[in-house]
């Protein structure tokens, strides 16, 4: 196995593109190293991107925040301005693993690992985030909801790497929230998860919304009907009931060791309602 530490994205792309065997990107390594230790994968090449210039930075530009692919979750949580702007995304970063794991783990890695239960994804999908991709044939952008192709599979092509997650400019009177259900308080994996991002007008009426569900399908679902159910409302009880019913109906879960179809379907609606309430309050709604 070769281990490389390129200093530019171009170099990283080139290494990944040229490798004929099995190649993996190493950021925090909280998925990769665990899988290697368990003997689940045996890579021929590991490309560590932590020394790539700019990949460790959180930048705030005119368009919004850009989180480098190698930024650990803790760095996000320690960025007070970011946490204030995107509390739902920060909540998601704060739920991945333990504090020790968060010191290494990255949201980009969490996304590329393509678990349907990935904590970072529903919040980023709700936020309307995109990823910047560098590849042998140039750069491109992809919506976060389009990164995962299925369980454990992503839509990056040979040689492509994600360089950053780009969030849109935070709208005035908007708020986001992420909730997940786990049997334990922490150190756990989502059985169901929901990200909600919404914007209200001066009267408290929701003008824009995005609702994403995790762990209820092979990939995270962006549920437009759920957003439509609350747009134009002040998140009254009827709207909330409608939102919950639509989210439950949108679930395509499985029975497994973590939960049943029935449980995931029921709880998706409950969490959607609770996440929407939090997001609405964060937007300044009463």
């Amino acid at each position: 196995m070769r281990y490389e530490t390129p200093s530019t994205a171009k170099e990283a792309v080139s290494l990944m593109a040229k490798e004929k065997g099995i190649a993996y990107i190493l950021a925090g390594g909280t998925d990769l190293l665990v899988k290697m230790k368990a003997g689940m994968i045996e890579p021929d090449l590991v490309v560590d991107i932590k020394r790539v210039k700019g990949m460790n930075e959180i930048k705030k530009g005119v368009g919004g925040y850009s989180i480098g692919a190698a930024v650990p979750c803790v760095a996000i949580l320690e960025n007070a301005a970011f946490v204030k702007a995107w509390p739902g995304v920060a909540d998601a970063a704060n739920l991945i693993g333990s504090r020790q794991v968060q010191g290494r783990s990255t949201m980009t890695g969490n996304m590329c690992n393509a678990s349907p239960a990935a904590d970072s994804v529903p919040a980023l999908v709700a936020a309307g985030a995109k990823v910047s991709i560098a590849g042998p044939k140039g750069n491109r952008k992809l919506a976060v909801e389009d990164v995962a192709a299925g369980v454990g599979r992503n839509n990056l092509k040979k040689g492509e790497i994600i360089t950053s997650i780009d969030l849109p400019k935070k709208a005035a009177k908007s708020g986001d929230a992420y909730l997940r259900f786990t049997p334990r308080t922490e150190m756990d994996i989502a059985v169901v998860s929901v990200g909600v991002n919404l914007t209200i007008d001066g009267k408290g009426v929701i003008t824009k919304a995005r609702v994403a569900l995790g762990a209820v399908s092979t990939t995270v679902l962006l549920v437009k009907e759920a957003a439509n159910a609350i747009i134009g409302t002040k998140l009254d009880d009827a709207a909330k009931a409608n939102l919950a019913a639509i989210c439950s109906a949108a679930c395509k879960p499985i029975d497994d060791k973590r939960g049943t179809i029935e449980f995931r379907t029921d709880v998706a609606g409950v969490l959607a309602r609770r996440a929407a309430e939090t997001a609405y309050a964060r937007a300044g709604g009463k």
């Binding site: 259900f181 049997p183 334990r184 308080t185 060791k257 029935e262 409950v270």
Partner: protein, 753 residues
């Protein structure tokens, strides 16, 4: 040394103080050596090939390719472990569990093992071993296993305890019955009869340290093993017998232990490491992965239990019956029988009976887990008692107090009780502020009481006085819960020296006579008793040395507060001789000063506890949060109260985990689905409230200080206490443990329909 020595009620000097533990600093600084910390020059790495099938015939194992791999030094299969048990089926079962013989009996059953120069080579070698299986139908559920239609796992099991003994082999290995009185008459007297069925899922002890051993067999037949275990003498005896070694030539040293709770009372991979070392002529280290610990060591039984209780309106329980169905995993055991013995132990019931049915299933061999079999039985019984209380409109604690066993009660499992603590713990619970505290919305309170036998067994202690007048104590009963500190307290108390003057170690198997393993809450009970006797024997020697020094009769020398004093008016001019003085002069008075004790510590003294639990349930998600928890238990005498409290809290924490989320999940393919801590959910710190404790001290008359074992009883009531609290929070009785959120939400929804 006579063991019927009566309790001496006396004022203690150091017993009952909260001294610093001798193993504490090394443990918190990482210096302590656990199983995997042992290493030897030239050691090889061993890995085990395990079956992916729950039940299959091994048609052929081809190791030829793996043997040729560069760096592979030895490969063993069952062919390298011939049956030397001489017809002892129990020992053959142990061997067969360590390495499958003709059939694999559960997912994870070992079929071959490799020793190689490094882990990479060993992993590659495992992939080169080809096993040809003929897959057989399997059964993992205890009720299914007992049906006549079930696949039969062993053709040599014919149910014990049924007359006439069946002639057809089955998975039903043993039936037993306990109790007394006339059930029919008792139920006829009852105003109310409650009859319910319960299920509990399989749980693992969840110790953080995986099993690990380093084995080194020399060509002359002498061997050493460093291993994480609760009983290195038992490991020595069993490994020697199974491998044809002389026990005196196999020296086993126990490492520090990162949790055992019963799971490290059995040998698992140790014979494989020894056999590999013998074949490779190199030291071999074998450390299990977490996945192996879950798949291949000894979890507790999953169970299915029916309970029927009849009571009068005044709360008198007139009759009680339970049928308990447990399994021993792939090998026959008597876990249901243990459960049956505990069923009615808290109560004085005129007509009671419990019937046990033990089965085998295609799951790993069941091992002891802290008061094995009692928590499940307690869950079923206490929930039914709670329903009886509701049915007759009586406070559940009053109902229990009314029917509690007391001194002189003939227990349901046979013996007549001496002084016991069940009534006292119930009264203490009734008067505890927790019982009267207001409850928040969607929060329920539950209480339950539980019992455990406790055990004494064989222990050896050597106490030696060093030339500088300090004291070393060597014990062979493994310290799993802080017994080294308690032994030092006992020796210091007897000798009249400070706690710090005594240092205790756990000695290896070649240094002392046989010691039983640390199970049955026997560690501190039996070892402290042996330490007291060893110290008293040393005092006899010390008095003799003083007598020799003074040239007076030994009868005129007494040992007071760490000094020899000459008795009588005429001796007034003799200055006392301290332990230091006598140690210093030992070379001139007869040589080193020591005291020894080899005992069977009988009459361990039964143990009772009562727990109170507050549980909040989110009725929309089924998630339970334990908001308050109190443990009240009789310790006899708490030698080191902090350790006793730690045992109470630890047992409660494990019981809460079992009650709420821990369970083995098997797929329809018979494979374990959650062999990792992510999906086998033991509680993390933030899942638990601070667990309050109250120690009661009702002395055990058969220990010099009144000590009772305390380690196991605390895990008995939590399944019941938590489930009753959840029932009171939701209004729905929970009959299935664990009460995971999907189970609770489903129960709430079903009740609404």
């Amino acid at each position: 040394m006579p063991l019927d020595q009566d309790l001496e009620i006396k004022k203690f000097k150091v017993i009952g103080t909260r001294v610093r533990r001798p193993d504490g600093v090394d443990k918190v600084t990482g210096r302590a050596r656990y199983g995997a910390d042992a290493s030897a020059p030239g050691q090889l790495v061993a890995l085990v090939l395990r079956s992916p099938h729950p039940h299959a015939i091994i048609k052929k194992i081809d190791i030829s390719k793996a043997e040729k791999l560069l760096g592979v030094k030895a490969i063993i299969t069952s062919a390298d472990l011939p049956d030397l048990t001489g017809g002892d089926r129990g020992m053959l079962d142990i061997l067969e569990n360590c390495m499958a013989r003709k059939k694999v009996l559960y997912d994870g059953h070992a079929v071959a093992a490799v020793a190689a120069i490094d882990a990479t080579t060993a992993r590659a070698a495992l992939k080169l071993i080809k096993v040809d299986y003929q897959v057989l139908p399997h059964v993992t559920d205890v009720d299914e296993a007992l049906k006549p239609t079930s696949p039969v796992i062993h053709d040599h099991i014919f149910t014990d305890g049924i007359e006439p003994k069946p002639t057809k082999a089955s998975n039903f290995n043993k039936q037993a019955e306990y109790g007394h009185g006339d059930l029919d008459a008792g139920f006829a007297e009852a105003d109310v009869i409650i009859e319910k069925s319960y299920k509990t899922e399989q749980t693992h002890q969840g110790y953080i340290e995986p099993h690990s051993c380093l084995a080194s067999v020399s060509p002359d037949g002498a061997a050493e093993m460093w291993v994480c275990t609760q009983g290195h003498f038992v490991y020595r005896n069993q490994c020697a017998a199974l491998l044809g070694l002389d026990a005196n030539k196999l020296r086993v040293t126990a490492s520090e232990i990162g949790g055992g709770f019963g799971g490290k009372t059995h040998i698992w991979t140790e014979p494989l490491a020894l056999a590999l070392s013998r074949k490779a002529n190199r030291p071999v280290k074998l450390t299990m992965s977490r996945e192996e610990v879950f798949r291949c060591t000894g979890p507790t039984s999953s169970t299915s239990i029916d309970v029927k209780i009849g009571a009068k309106k005044d709360g008198t329980i007139t009759a009680a019956f339970a049928e308990l169905r447990y399994h021993g995993g792939a090998f026959p055991a008597n876990w249901a029988e243990f459960g049956a013995m505990t069923t009615w132990a808290c109560y004085d019931i005129k007509n009671c009976k419990s019937l046990s049915k033990d089965a085998v299933v295609n799951r790993p061999k069941t091992a002891a887990y802290r008061a094995p079999s009692a928590p499940q039985s307690c869950f079923a019984v206490e929930n039914t008692i709670d329903e009886v209380a509701k049915a007759i409109g009586m406070d559940p604690i009053e109902l229990r107090i009314k029917n509690a066993a007391k001194e002189g009660t003939k227990s349901s499992y046979g013996p007549v009780y001496g002084p016991i603590g069940i009534g006292a713990t119930l009264q203490a619970a009734k008067n505890h502020p927790h019982m009267k505290a207001p409850l928040a919305k969607d929060t329920g309170r539950g209480m339950a009481c539980g019992f455990w036998f406790n055990f004494g067994g064989q222990t050896c202690v050597d106490l030696n006085v060093t030339p500088d007048g300090t004291v070393t104590v060597a014990v062979g009963t493994m310290d799993v819960g802080g017994s080294r500190a308690s032994l030092a307290l006992a020796a210091a108390e007897e000798l009249g020296v400070p706690y710090e003057a005594v240092r205790v170690i756990v000695a290896d198997t070649s240094s002392l006579g046989h010691n039983d393993m640390t199970d049955g809450s026997r560690g501190t009970f039996s070892s402290s008793m042996a330490a007291v006797f060893a110290a008293r024997n040393a005092i006899t020697v010390l008095r003799e040395r003083a007598a020799k020094t003074w040239e007076i009769p030994v009868g005129d020398v007494e040992w007071v507060d760490g000094e020899a004093k000459a008795k009588g008016a005429s001796r007034g001019n003799l200055a006392p001789l301290t332990l230091k003085d006598l140690a210093k002069g030992a070379g001139g008075t007869g040589g080193p000063i020591a005291g020894h004790s080899e005992i069977v510590a009988d009459n361990a003294g039964v143990s009772f506890g009562t727990h109170i639990c507050d549980a909040h349930v989110d009725k929309e998600t089924g998630k339970t949060t334990i908001t308050r928890y109190t443990v009240i238990q009789d310790a006899g005498k708490a030698m080191h109260p902090s350790y006793v409290e730690g045992q109470y809290q630890g047992g409660a924490a494990q019981g809460i985990g079992w009650a709420l989320n821990e369970e083995y999940v098997y797929g329809t393919n018979g494979r374990l689905q959650n062999a990792a801590f992510l999906d086998y959910r033991i509680p993390v710190c933030s899942d638990l409230p601070m667990i309050d404790t109250q120690i009661l001290e009702i002395p055990n008359p058969h220990h010099p200080y009144g000590v009772r074992g305390v380690g196991e009883t605390p895990i008995v009531p939590p399944l019941a206490a938590v489930s009753i609290a959840v029932t009171n929070a939701t209004g729905v009785r929970m009959h299935h443990i664990p009460m995971s959120p999907p189970r609770i939400l489903k129960a709430i929804k079903s009740a609404r329909m």
